[in-house]
Symmetry: C2
Subunit: 171 residues, 2 copies
DNA sequence: AACCATAATGAGTCTCGACTCATATTTCTA
DNA sequence: TAGAAATATGAGTCGAGACTCATTATGGTT
């Protein structure tokens, strides 16, 4: 791959992440091109379809989250990851709109990472033994979506998470 | 208002509810007109803007929910309402997309109804006294959104709600 | 029944955004 | 450094969907 092609590909991905995070997936490809400093044709050369572009940034995002999760663990790892993710979601409109774009492998890897955090938390006795990975993922998605919508302030977010954690807690 | 006008207004609202519930808010006004059996110009005569149409059905929907909630009460009222709402949400794509359309008065009335259910549940000792209406509403919105996304099956939905209820439960 | 205000009709306008492609430019290789 | 081959450019095409409006139809009234 030519040097300029690789450089542009990176710029486009960065620009797309920025634009879609702020304006949602409905933002135009035109705008991504403008921010990246390339012509619109270049965007379509690298990503033949808008959906391809969305899938690419979603994959990157999920990989980053999985990596983040891998750096945590112990009794509070799940708690920390959960809170961090919800905070990020509130700042990024993206998640809502990425519904429909799927990157199975990347989602699977994130699921594995969360499963591991859950296992450790259960081993440490922080979390009930009778909840599974699917419920935890479902709650994670739900609360992120909720946070995106309501424009929760910090206090409400904390209190809402507290209820969820109480539900997950052992005893 | 002329008789045919009123009849058509009703048909349009019904058709819009059906179409947007199935296809999401991105469905075209054209399709609503077709299902209602009127010309597209008629839809725009009654609702000058697509957003007006969305707001109208959202208002009707929220009013119906508030009424539903008013018929419940006691120790399990909140539990029942919560479950029912999540089940409905799973069948309707609408909710996701209605983000952005706001009908403050109708939302307020639903909030009051939920607040009353919460009060009764707390009085009956079913729910912790230290959670407030905002958290409950936040959880309600979150879980509905989550259910819409993941294509939860019945079991996962039940287990996820169980965690939330455990978090809300007294003791 | 005749009248007209109100409403319905639907082809047409307009905007927007995804995607294309002929042309110009840049990188790399020999 | 000349010559491809790869890449970038951006005006243009295309389709979709929100919204308009001149015309036609209908309901209610005298």
């Amino acid at each position: 791959m030519r040097a300029d092609a690789e450089r542009n590909r990176g710029r486009i991905l960065d620009a797309a992440e920025e634009v879609f995070a702020q304006r949602g997936a409905a933002a135009s490809t035109e705008e991504v091109a403008r921010l990246a400093g390339v012509a619109i044709g270049t965007v379509f050369r690298h990503f033949p379809t808008k959906e391809d572009l969305l899938a690419a940034i979603l994959k990157r995002l999920l990989a980053r989250l999985a990596e983040d999760a891998a750096g945590l663990g112990g009794a509070d790892g799940l708690h920390t990851f959960f809170t961090r993710l919800v905070q990020q979601a509130a700042a990024r409109r993206m998640v809502v709109d990425l519904v429909g774009v799927s990157v199975p492998a990347a989602v699977g890897r994130l699921g594995d990472a969360v499963g591991e955090l859950l296992r450790q938390a259960q081993e440490a006795g922080t979390v009930r033994g009778d909840v599974g990975r699917p419920e935890v993922m479902a709650l994670l998605v739900s609360v992120c979506q909720g946070a995106l919508q309501g424009g929760w302030d910090e206090g409400l977010q904390a209190r809402t998470l507290a209820v969820v954690f109480a539900g997950l807690a052992a005893r």
